[in-house]
């Protein structure tokens, strides 16, 4: 839990007024600080967002660096069939990614481009609205999170997500195929593997942000086509890019306010 100076003064002020109860609150605060404070170099943001510069991405159309970076660091299994497929970030042709940008005469290179798609970390996420166990929720910094231990696997969030960003573990991702090849080719011990029967998706690399690192896909992109930052900070690189370029979002008409912007 991040406590900035203003909140700190507010809480301590109230605590002082509260007297004895205030002491307890102070203790609790001190304790929570000790227990939960993120690492000193953690990245802080109020409205995390990503900008995908399709102009740069097109240069290496079909490149899978971002997908590879994400899927290997997060132990995303590969079952070798589309039925059971799990994906956190993937590519779709332009017209599938942006069905409401239908226009017969878009520039050729755009028409034949494929866009990297991921969870949009919507400001108004329909998946969070429908989850019956609060296994998916929105953090204060805008990241839509997923608790793999609480998920009951009802898949209501998948039905609600207009972007196809959520995957379900139809079978055990920790298992192996008939030839004994594990579905997770190389396990990253620093990140948990999931179990069968739960939903998973991109989390904007919350675990890396806590360590002061940028999301894996951003780091993995050689073209620097993916840019991550805080929309609340007018000086951030994302804001600069969005200020200077025309960008589109997926299915804006649904009112979900997606936080992944595509610069065309």
């Amino acid at each position: 839990m991040a406590v900035d100076r203003r909140n700190f003064i507010k809480i301590t002020g109230l605590a002082a007024l509260g007297g004895a109860a205030g002491k307890e609150a102070m203790d609790a605060l001190a304790q929570s600080e000790a227990k939960f404070s993120p690492m000193d170099n953690a990245l802080h943001g109020k409205r995390w967002a990503m900008a995908v510069d399709l102009k740069k991405c097109k240069k290496d159309n079909g490149c899978k660096d971002c997908i590879h970076a994400c899927h290997s660091v997060h132990n995303v299994p590969d079952f070798g069939n589309p039925k059971d497929e799990i994906k956190w970030i993937w590519r779709e042709p332009y017209e599938k990614a942006f069905p409401d940008q239908e226009n017969e005469f878009v520039p050729d290179d755009l028409l034949h481009a494929s866009a990297p798609l991921l969870c949009n970390h919507c400001d108004n996420p329909p998946c969070v609205r429908v989850c019956p166990t609060q296994a998916t929720w929105k953090r204060q910094d805008g990241i839509v999170m997923m608790d793999w231990h609480r998920c009951i696997g009802c898949r209501y969030c998948i039905a609600a997500c207009p972007y196809g960003s959520r995957s379900f573990n139809w079978r055990d991702p920790r298992g192996a195929d008939a030839e004994g090849k594990p579905y997770i080719k190389e396990q990253n011990p620093a990140f948990p593997t999931r179990m069968k029967g739960v939903v998973e998706k991109c989390t904007f690399c919350d675990e890396r942000l806590a360590k002061g690192l940028k999301p894996a896909c951003v780091e993995g992109c050689k073209q620097a086509a993916l840019v991550f930052g805080d929309l609340d900070d007018p000086e951030s690189e994302v804001r600069k890019l969005l200020r200077e370029n025309f960008s589109i979002r997926r299915k804006p008409g649904l009112g979900t306010q997606p936080e992944v912007y595509y610069i065309v």
Binding site: K96, T133, Q134, C154, L254
Partner: protein, 383 residues
């Protein structure tokens, strides 16, 4: 009273043994599913709800339809339904039980089901569904138990049961409305995004459920000494007629809205159902069967002479039931997922284990129904 279920003819026990066998096979398949995961079903990344949730949706309707005998009997004192009201309530009990089991079968982590109670989430429609389904089960158990008990003792039912019966009437409507809300609030699925979904669900429920009840009454007349009589069956047939007419009217309204506006998002799912898209036409023959059966049955129900003929009425009820089962228990849920939000067309068809688990749940429902009917009819015979 309950001991009546333990005394029966050889045919009774034969039927129970058959159901137990089906339940056993279903349970073995369920164990297999628990071990392997839901990947054992035909569901996929694109079609994430299938046969289980469709059965659940259909059966909520059957459960809700009990109100079609409860309401005239208790609210309007319509005496002709006196003999069959308890049959309707028992049908509701077994249907709701099946609904809950189908939801359980559909969960990826069923052992975590209690999370829905530990972390109550009022913004999720599933939370409300849990409340209305269990509440409805509870109401029907109490009402049928108290009413049957006083009937056996030849006493007037206690006064406190009346408000509970009245409560059960709007509650029945609520279970199917909430089920419709599970679907119709999702911007991601234009096929379900229609304000008429709840009324449509209710109309199909109030025709499909009573159709099953008529069929059950006719079966009971054959295999037991119980005869519901002509009048209540004819009255039920009238209810089915009006509800089915409303249901088909609602379907036509949906089709008009989608196709006259000609918005691709809204037409494409209907195109998939009735004509198929991109060579995917799994549901096409089923949908046409459903529509034709529905229309023919409705005509047979509307024409007084065919409605009064009990063998034709039987066929019309069977037609109505099958038509609505295809519509709600097969197509309704799947069509919402095809095509997917990015336009991928992935077909769905239930696998053998999935069907066996579903059959097992249906058999549990029929087992509960058989036992409850056995108790009720034995009590009647003793009076």
């Amino acid at each position: 009273m309950l001991e009546n279920a333990l005394k029966g003819s050889r045919r009774y026990w034969g039927w129970i043994a058959f159901l137990a066998a089906v339940i056993g096979i279903g349970f073995l398949c369920y164990l297999r599913q628990l071990h392997y995961g839901l990947g054992i079903t035909g569901m996929s990344r694109d079609v994430t709800w299938g046969f289980y949730i469709a059965q659940f949706t259909f059966l909520v309707g059957v459960a809700a339809s009990a109100v079609m005998v409860v309401l005239p009997y208790y609210l309007h004192n319509f005496k002709a339904f006196g003999k069959i009201t308890i049959l309707g309530e028992f049908l509701a009990i077994s249907s709701v039980t099946m609904c809950i089991l189908f939801v359980l079968a559909d969960l990826g982590q069923p052992m975590r089901m209690v999370n829905m109670i530990l972390y109550p989430t009022p913004n999720s429609i599933l939370f409300w569904d849990l409340i209305v389904l269990n509440g409805y089960l509870f109401l029907n158990v109490i009402i049928s138990r108290v009413m049957l008990d006083s009937e056996r003792k030849g006493l007037e039912p206690p006064k406190w049961i009346k408000p509970i019966i009245y409560l059960s009437i709007p509650w029945a409507v609520s279970i199917h409305t909430v089920t419709a809300f599970i679907y119709c609030g999702l911007g991601a699925r234009p096929f379900w995004l229609t304000a008429i979904l709840a009324p449509r669900f209710l109309a199909s429920a109030f025709s499909g459920g009573p159709a099953l009840l008529i069929l059950l009454c006719l079966i009971l007349r054959r295999v037991t000494r119980f005869d519901a009589g002509k009048e209540p069956i004819q009255k039920l047939a009238l209810i089915i007629t009006y509800a089915m007419a409303a249901n088909l009217f609602f379907v036509l309204m949906e089709i008009f809205t989608a196709f006259y506006s000609d918005m691709p998002e809204h037409t494409i799912h209907f195109r998939y159902l009735f004509f198929g898209i991109d060579g995917a036409r799994n549901l096409v023959p089923w949908m046409w069967t459903s529509e034709i059966l529905g229309i023919v049955s409705l005509v047979l129900l509307i024409v007084p002479s065919t409605r009064r003929n009990e063998s034709i009425l039987t066929a019309a009820c069977a037609g109505t039931f099958i038509s609505l089962w295809i519509d709600k228990g097969l197509a309704m849920v799947v069509a919402g997922f095809v095509p997917s939000p990015v336009g991928n067309v992935t077909e769905y068809w239930p696998t053998a284990p999935e069907l066996m688990i579903s059959l097992g749940v249906w058999a549990i429902g029929f087992l509960i129904l058989t036992v409850l009917y056995k108790i009720a009819l034995t009590v009647r015979e003793e009076i």
